[in-house]
Amino acid sequence: MTDSFALPTRFGSQQLGGCYAPETLMQPLLDLEAAFRTAWTAPAFLAELKAELRHFVGRPTPLTPAPRLAAKVGLRALFLKREDLTHTGAHKINNALAQALLARRMGKTEIIAETGAGQHGVATAAACARLGLSCTVYMGVTDMARQAPNVARMRLFGAKVEPVAAGQGTLKEAVNEALRAWAGRCDRAHYILGSALGPHPFPTMVRTFQTVIGEEARAQVLEQSGGLPDTVIACAGGGSNGLGLLVPFLGDDLRRVAVEAGGHGRALGEHAARLEGGRVGVLHGCKTLLLQDEHGHTAETASISAGLDYPALGPELAALALDGKVVVRRASDDEALAGARLLCETEGILPALESSHALALLTALAADGAATVLLGLSGRGDKDLSTYQSRLGI
């Protein structure tokens, strides 16, 4: 039992982050931080994690040069960090597996998770099956409909998928319900949050487990091209993928870009672009950039991509953006679809709708003077086939 946090809980000049949790969850969060700190320096935990990431997840993932797409958008060179090639098909497994190992180390027998696109839910369900933990995933009913293949995958892995019908039936409501469920079962359950948000220590812990993406990518791009790119770019929902790729490049003299969901318009409710449309507020346990109305109620959001359809930017990524260390841009639904199509046609890779938001920015980056770009391809697009079919008319 520990009675105060040891790691920094705040980020940046505006002191974003924090731990705005109901009292019931405070001790579980304090205990989680202590367990995480101990595990992260324990050789046995690190060795097991490394082995699982290699033999179960398939790390390191490749860094694939994409010369035809580079030529098409006007870049000299483009490298894709292939998180789509991990087991379960997205970067989410890096964190889900690490937290599942941590939960087992803490003696927890049940896992709770939320999911938007379903990638975190699938990753958590797979990790739980592998480690013999019972798993319940909360998912909004809208997302269950648009990401149906992932619902089936979770169930095949033995997870219980709990539909959340409240509100818009998307990620925000799924997080609400997962937090409520955890408050009821925190004596035996661990909550595997999938994004770099929520109360401390989740943002720090999730980012730590995801920086393997950027660490590998940095070494790979140096090896393949003899230098660093001038731009590193990733999509950002909560920020686990964005931070995972960008944080290891924070000390480098290059441009770091995170891409939010521009949805289908610029009015509140038509997008999930938090930097431009949000104000600092508190949601789901952390203070960060939040899409909200004038009463402090969370605003509705819209995006073709379930994984980016969330009203808050993770606090660390929001802090990096506000302090000028990461540039945040937006891509609309239509631009993301066009980006996906271009990657399919030039390189034979089907990206997730989330990753397609980063792809959508390539032409603009080239026009801004970028020549060499490293792009985080966070996930594969099989789960989005029905959306691609209906929206692209194929």
Binding site: M1, P22, E23, A183, E294, G296
Partner: protein, 247 residues
């Protein structure tokens, strides 16, 4: 000892009905009442209070509108504003103090604000006469419980119940009824802290029937009744009809 601390949601069944509900509560002899400020994402509430909050928001019960309705009301028990942090942060401490001044609000219970997260905001409001209610949960260790009570201290016997009491959450989970609440751990926690010797205590979460209310009173604490009452009020029953049998 205060026999009952009821919770009602501002704006449910309607904002217009609020002054009458408060007057009824006063006529019943209630010393204090928790008034919920509806929030879009009530992460610590069960289905009944979630639904009440969403109904209230849909009817236009915004935080500022609610405080405006409360302005000038004197025929009311002391109010403890039960809310989530973000709406208050967006109003800001200065404006909030101005809005609260003409109301019967005497304290704030902010579900997602542990001590130490917004020290300036909390200090400012306490100095203006709006202390935060200390919450203790089943997961709160004895050491942390002592810390919570010290950080949110009892202003002393001359202050009203609303500003003095600590809130003991009786079970894990969210607000609402449905499962019986074992009060033995509550009793144990109370004796460990020796709290009643110094400070009034309210016990809530999962209480709805007369027997569990009586059990809490027998321990010397004030039972909180929330979801069960909100459900009855939404169904059209009067506050007096709901509460008189429980007093």
């Amino acid at each position: 000892m205060n026999p009952l601390l009821p919770f009602i949601m501002a704006g449910d069944p309607s904002l217009e009905a609020l002054p009458r509900l408060l007057a009824e509560a006063k006529a019943l002899g209630l010393e204090a009442i928790e008034l919920g400020l509806p929030h879009s994402d009530p992460i610590a509430d069960g289905p009944v209070l979630q639904a009440a909050a969403h109904r209230a928001i849909a009817r236009g019960a915004t935080p500022v509108r609610i405080l405006e309705v409360l302005a000038g009301i004197t025929d009311s028990p002391d109010l403890i504003l039960f809310t989530y942090l973000n709406p208050l942060l967006q109003i800001g401490a200065e404006r909030l103090k101005t809005l609260l001044a003409p109301t019967p609000v005497k304290a704030l219970l902010v579900v997602d604000l542990p001590f130490g997260e917004e020290p300036a905001f909390e200090r400012d409001l306490r100095a203006a006469g709006y202390p935060m209610v200390p919450l203790l949960a089943p997961t709160t260790t004895l050491e942390r419980a002592r810390q919570v009570l010290a950080e949110r201290p009892d202003p002393g016997p001359s202050a009203p119940f609303a500003q003095r009491f600590a809130y003991l959450v009786a079970r894990l989970g969210v607000t609402g009824t449905g499962q019986s609440t074992d009060l033995a751990p509550v009793q144990k926690r109370m004796s460990e802290l020796g709290i009643l010797a110094t400070r009034p205590l309210a016990v809530g979460f999962g209480l709805s029937d007369a027997a569990s209310l009586a059990a809490v009173r027998a321990m010397g604490a004030t039972p909180v009744i929330g979801s069960a009452l909100v459900r009855e009020l939404a169904g059209g029953r009067s506050l007096s009809a709901c509460l008189a049998p429980l007093l």
